[in-house]
């Protein structure tokens, strides 16, 4: 594997950006600031994907996460929060228990990552230059059934989100209109 000094520097810069901004997402007291830091985290993660020779995933990351998901979350916050955004993102009473569980999970992951013999698994091949053509061909041949299932899932999620978030008062008005017509 070729590893130039620049990719090492880039990895550490991106890792610090990702972890710092993710910590800010959790520790910010204002939920809008949290979403802002979340967008920075996602964009830094796209940089990490570029470092991993996954340029298509990096583009999708910027489009879907930094674009769609962050904007959608901001819209959701604007629909549900009171006008005062201060102290909208506080901790609950399970801080100590949560810290313990997280420490256990991270310790387990780190120990297992350290003990696994990664060097036996690593394939000494490079990723092909043009990943988009290969991914497109794979999605349309080997993974075509999951691809179609995911398309149906997106349709179901779209319809489900509309049905769940539909304004109840509108539905009641329709019901009253139906009742009024029935009385006539």
């Amino acid at each position: 594997m070729e590893t130039s000094i620049y990719s090492v520097i880039a990895f550490y810069c991106l890792a610090i950006t990702i972890l710092g901004n993710a910590a800010l997402v959790v520790f910010a007291r204002n939920i809008v600031h949290s979403v802002l830091f979340l967008a920075v985290t996602f964009i830094a993660m796209a940089g990490l994907f570029l470092l991993l020779d996954a340029d298509f995933i990096a583009a999708i990351q910027v489009l879907v996460y930094a674009g769609a998901v962050c904007i959608m979350v901001v819209f959701g916050i604007m629909l549900i929060q009171r006008p005062d955004m201060k102290d909208t993102n506080l901790f609950n009473t399970q801080l100590i228990a949560g810290t313990g569980v997280v420490a256990l999970v991270f310790a387990m992951c780190a120990i297992l990552a350290g003990r696994t013999a990664w060097t036996d698994l690593v394939a000494m091949q490079a990723v092909p230059e043009n990943t988009i053509q290969v991914i497109g061909a794979l999605l349309m041949s080997k993974y075509v059934i999951p691809f179609e299932v995911v398309a149906v899932l997106l349709l179901v999620a779209l319809i489900g989100a509309i049905v769940i978030a539909r304004d109840e008062s509108g539905a009641i008005a329709v019901d009253e209109g139906v009742k009024a017509n029935a009385h006539d």
């Binding site: 993660m45 996954a54 996460y65 979350v73 949560g98 690593v122 769940i164």
Partner: protein, 104 residues
């Protein structure tokens, strides 16, 4: 020290997953919990793409997997926000400690 191996990516991903899990367990706002779930799913994506580069560079298994994860995460955040908006209409709160209808 001057090479980036698979272990670096796995440890970075584990750290990010831990930050997300900490948020999920300790945040009070339902939208914040949704955001932290997104962070956890992104940590998994880093793992998948790193495995794809280092272990199966020709097969692209990890990259295809992470594409599906991104799609499902987008659907999940849409449905989650819709549920939170629907609950907010009934309860006028997004504090998860208030959501105790199923408690007995």
């Amino acid at each position: 020290m001057l090479t980036i191996s698979l272990t670096h990516y796995v440890v970075l991903s584990a750290l990010l997953f831990s930050i997300g899990l900490f948020g999920v367990l300790t945040k009070r706002n339902a939208v914040a919990v949704l955001i932290c779930i997104e962070i956890m799913l992104n940590a998994v994506n880093i793992n998948l793409v790193a495995f794809s580069k280092y272990i199966t560079p020709i097969d692209f298994t990890g990259q295809i997997f992470s594409l599906f994860v991104i799609t499902v995460a987008a659907a999940e955040v849409g449905i989650g926000l819709a549920i939170i908006i629907a609950i907010y209409r009934n309860k006028l709160s997004v504090n998860l400690d208030d959501f105790d209808w199923l408690k007995w």
